[in-house]
């Protein structure tokens, strides 16, 4: 575990000490080296137990895919931010890269934490670099509002979580993941127990986001620069899902009844946000709402707590992380050329940028869950387990799948097909950097078709 964490921490001094000429090359190559080394975590010797243990950090089949995704994403973020940061003074470039690296450090510590308070502190710690990335390097005036919404929505949920964790610590004496599954359930007064249950889950549901508390997400995703959008969509939302998976073990037996409203809200959110996507004019907002939609399905899957549902949720989290990040990178290629996120200003790009159109095609197919991609595997497993839980959910999930296919196709057709607008005479062709970026996003997704056991979690 430390073999990856310490090099990540040492990326910080290397960012500040590298000469200007080699800054981006160095950070990219070293973060790629760390990402390749992090693949060792996937070789888990024990299928349901903890591996790579030390006192404070460990990895198990649920956290391993998320850890690898986090480490994989840093070189991708460095690659994606290179262009829009080129014109800034060198120290600000170094600051930006340091923020990305510190996010990686906090995320590694969060996903590998073996104690709930450590997870909580790292969960909160990821807020500060993300806030700075969104509000300092975002491009529009609305980014201030976005940062405030982001910080306060998450904090309003996580402060009750802190109190719930402290309560648990007081009644059971420990908060370690190793011992918590074996503790007797703490059943005090019914009302207080229900409040405690809600407090435990609220932070993660807001982070996922659950449909009713999702307002921060479109703002934050849209206003963030490309690296901010990537890390938000790919990993930070999954922190919520991972936290829910970890903490639901303790929350039985109340979960059987209390989770009903949240499952229904999540499934309703799948349909509602999918429908909103069909009417969006802002490309990044469309991808952001599609994230809410997919995460709604993940939330519903996690809350029903069956093995297939957990596996489906984990697969969908990883697949959605790669797909959503790829879509944001594609939206960024549009933005860097036209400096606008409005879809109607950049239509028919297949004529102008045919190579990028290939990437748009693959990413869109991934988003609408085409077989045999892992997106479909995750969605299908969640839909099946939800059907097993209650057959009426099939209406909601089936409709959700239909609408997902609808808006993904809408996005593809709007941006790629149709007639080129008159004002777009020539755009810069895609750089090799952008092709590399999208390859690095989509190739793991395609390779996961061949060995999906890596992201099956406890069902491997």
């Amino acid at each position: 575990m430390l073999k990856i964490l310490i090099p990540s921490i040492l990326l910080l001094p290397s960012t500040w000490l590298t000469p200007q000429k080699y800054l981006w090359t160095t950070t990219l190559s070293y973060s790629l080296l760390i990402a390749s080394a992090s693949l060792m975590w996937l070789a888990t010797p024990s299928e349901t137990g903890w591996s790579f243990l030390n006192c404070l950090m460990a990895s198990d089949p649920i956290s391993t895919p998320l850890l690898v995704l986090t480490c994989w994403l840093l070189p991708l973020m460095v690659l994606a931010s290179q262009n829009h940061l080129m014109l800034e003074p060198i120290n600000r470039q170094r600051t930006f890269i340091s923020l990305l690296i510190s996010l990686q450090i906090f995320l590694i510590l969060a996903f590998s934490a073996t104690e709930l308070i450590m997870f909580y502190i790292m969960f909160e710690a990821t807020l500060i670099p993300t806030l700075i990335i969104i509000t300092r390097w975002g491009n529009q005036m609305e980014r201030l509002n976005a940062g405030t919404y982001f910080l306060f929505y998450t904090l309003a949920g996580s402060l009750p979580l802190l109190i719930a964790l402290l309560l648990l610590q007081n009644s059971t004496g420990t908060l370690s993941f190793f011992t918590i599954p074996y503790l007797p359930s703490t059943c005090s007064t019914p009302w207080a127990h229900k409040m405690w249950w809600t407090a435990c889950l609220l932070a993660f549901l807001i982070k996922m986001p659950l449909y009713g508390a999702h307002l921060w997400l479109p703002k934050a995703h849209v206003e963030a620069p490309i690296a901010g959008s990537m890390i938000l969509a790919a990993v930070l939302l999954k922190l919520g899902g991972y936290g829910m998976m970890r903490i639901l073990i303790i929350l039985d037996p109340l979960t059987k009844e209390l989770s009903y409203p949240f499952i229904i809200l999540a499934l309703w959110g799948v349909i509602m946000t999918g429908s909103i996507c069909l009417r969006q004019t802002d490309l990044k907002a469309l991808i952001a709402y599609s994230s809410v939609s997919h995460m709604g399905l993940v939330a519903a899957g996690i809350l029903i707590q069956t093995p297939w549902a957990f596996t489906g949720a984990l697969i969908l989290m990883i697949a959605h992380g790669l797909t959503s990040s790829a879509l944001f990178c594609l939206a960024n290629t549009n933005y860097e050329r036209t400096h606008s996120r409005t879809m109607i200003l950049a239509r028919g790009l297949q004529t102008l940028l045919p190579l990028t159109a290939v990437w748009w095609f693959i990413a869109t197919l991934a988003n609408l869950a085409l077989p045999p991609l892992p997106n479909l595997m995750g969605e299908l497993m969640i839909i099946t387990s939800l059907f097993n839980w209650s057959m009426w959910t099939l209406i909601l999930t089936g409709l959700g799948t239909l609408i997902t296919a609808g808006y993904s196709l809408y996005m593809f057709l709007m941006t790629q097909h149709g007639q080129l607008p008159h004002h777009l005479i020539s755009l810069n062709p895609p750089h090799s950097r952008e092709h590399l970026l999208l390859t690095l996003h989509l190739m793991p997704l395609l390779l996961l078709i061949l060995k999906p056991e890596l992201i099956w979690g406890w069902n491997a």
Binding site: Y120, I132, T148, L151, L159, P160, I163, A192
Partner: protein, 348 residues
């Protein structure tokens, strides 16, 4: 101000607090507090501008009222119990009266109205003394009296956290914001005082560290208004990174040091089965986080690439003694991993 007078006043400040710390008799404790008040009055008025004189006068009236009440309460306690001992306050009437008098001295809600206006009239150094040193003697006295009835502490504490947060919402003057921040943090201290006095000690120490670093940052750039914060990038660029971190630490965000007292206080409150109170206190601290965030927005996160957002002030006094700022800033940002070590030092 002439150096001998200045030194005499500073030494008197130290003398007053030390007398209160060393006393077991109500008269001596009260005298120490009076010496403190009298010593800081000329320091507040040193500028000879009307605003400073107004602040001084308000401070004097409030502190005189509080001192008179405190003396009355101490004498009543002596009358009822026959003892002049500070620690012996078995009657709820006198201990409540003492608590309220001392609360007025340090500016806890609902006796806080004087604090922002007084702080606004002072220069930054005197404001620092007001919000850190002047709190020590009264807090020590509250620490000592027996908490017969923790309800008053809880009420004062929760109200202060809420008022400290809500009151700062509309402020653009930095000194008023710092006053409301002081009210909020003192609220956290009072909240936990009846349950675990060592935690209150921890809170005040961490608060003094954080406030010291924030005041020192503002003193370096001579900023007293949000608008002048936006020119920090042109004067001392490193402050644009450190000051937002200090502000977020004041707001209690992990993984910065400011999270430590809040975490420990919430832990103690949940141990005492006071979870709704803990939740309310935690959520009320989000109010103050909002205006700290606004300050960091003005300073760093909306940094203009080329032209400064405000008019450039004159850059006087290039001699900076930055060692205290460096030390306190580092402790404000990096001390959270030391929590187990610090907690083991607390006398439990």
């Amino acid at each position: 101000m002439a150096p001998p007078i200045y030194s005499a006043l500073i030494i008197s400040l130290g003398l007053g607090t030390t007398m209160t710390f060393a006393s077991t008799h109500w008269y001596l404790a009260w005298m120490g507090i009076e010496i403190n008040t009298l010593a800081i009055i000329p320091l507040m008025a040193q500028n000879h501008i009307p605003r400073a004189i107004e602040a001084t006068t308000k401070y004097f009236f409030v502190q005189a009222t509080a001192s008179a009440t405190l003396l009355f309460a101490g004498i009543s306690n002596a009358f009822l119990t026959g003892q002049w001992d500070i620690t012996y306050t078995p009657y709820t009437l006198t201990s409540t009266l003492i608590t309220l008098a001392l609360a007025m001295k340090i500016g806890l809600a609902p006796l806080h109205s004087w604090m922002p206006e007084v702080m606004q009239g002072l220069n930054l150094l005197t404001g620092l003394i007001l919000s850190t040193w002047q709190k020590l003697a009264p807090l020590y006295l509250i620490y000592q009296i027996q908490p017969n009835n923790p309800n008053i502490f809880i009420a004062l504490g929760l109200l202060s956290i809420i008022v400290g947060g809500w009151g700062g919402f509309n402020q653009v003057q930095l000194r008023k914001i710092l006053a409301y921040s002081s009210i909020a943090h003192l609220g956290w201290m009072i909240l936990i005082l009846s349950f675990s006095p060592p935690l209150a000690l921890l809170t005040i120490i961490i608060y003094i560290l954080m406030t010291f670093s924030l005041f020192s940052s503002f003193m370096l750039t001579r900023t007293t208004h949000i608008n002048s914060l936006s020119t920090t990038w042109a004067k001392i660029p490193i402050l644009t990174i450190s000051t937002p971190l200090i502000l977020l630490s004041l707001g209690g965000l992990p993984p910065l040091t400011g999270f430590m007292p809040k975490w420990m206080i919430l832990q103690e409150l949940t141990k005492q089965s006071l979870c709704p109170l803990a939740t309310m206190a935690a959520l009320s601290s989000l109010f103050s986080l909002y205006f700290y965030l606004r300050l960091s927005y003005a300073m760093t996160l909306t940094m203009p690439p080329n032209n400064p957002a405000g008019t450039l002030p004159w850059r006087l006094n290039p001699r900076h003694n930055t060692l205290p700022l460096a030390l306190t800033t580092t402790s404000t940002i990096c001390l959270l991993p030391m929590t187990p070590a610090i907690m083991s030092l607390m006398p439990f």
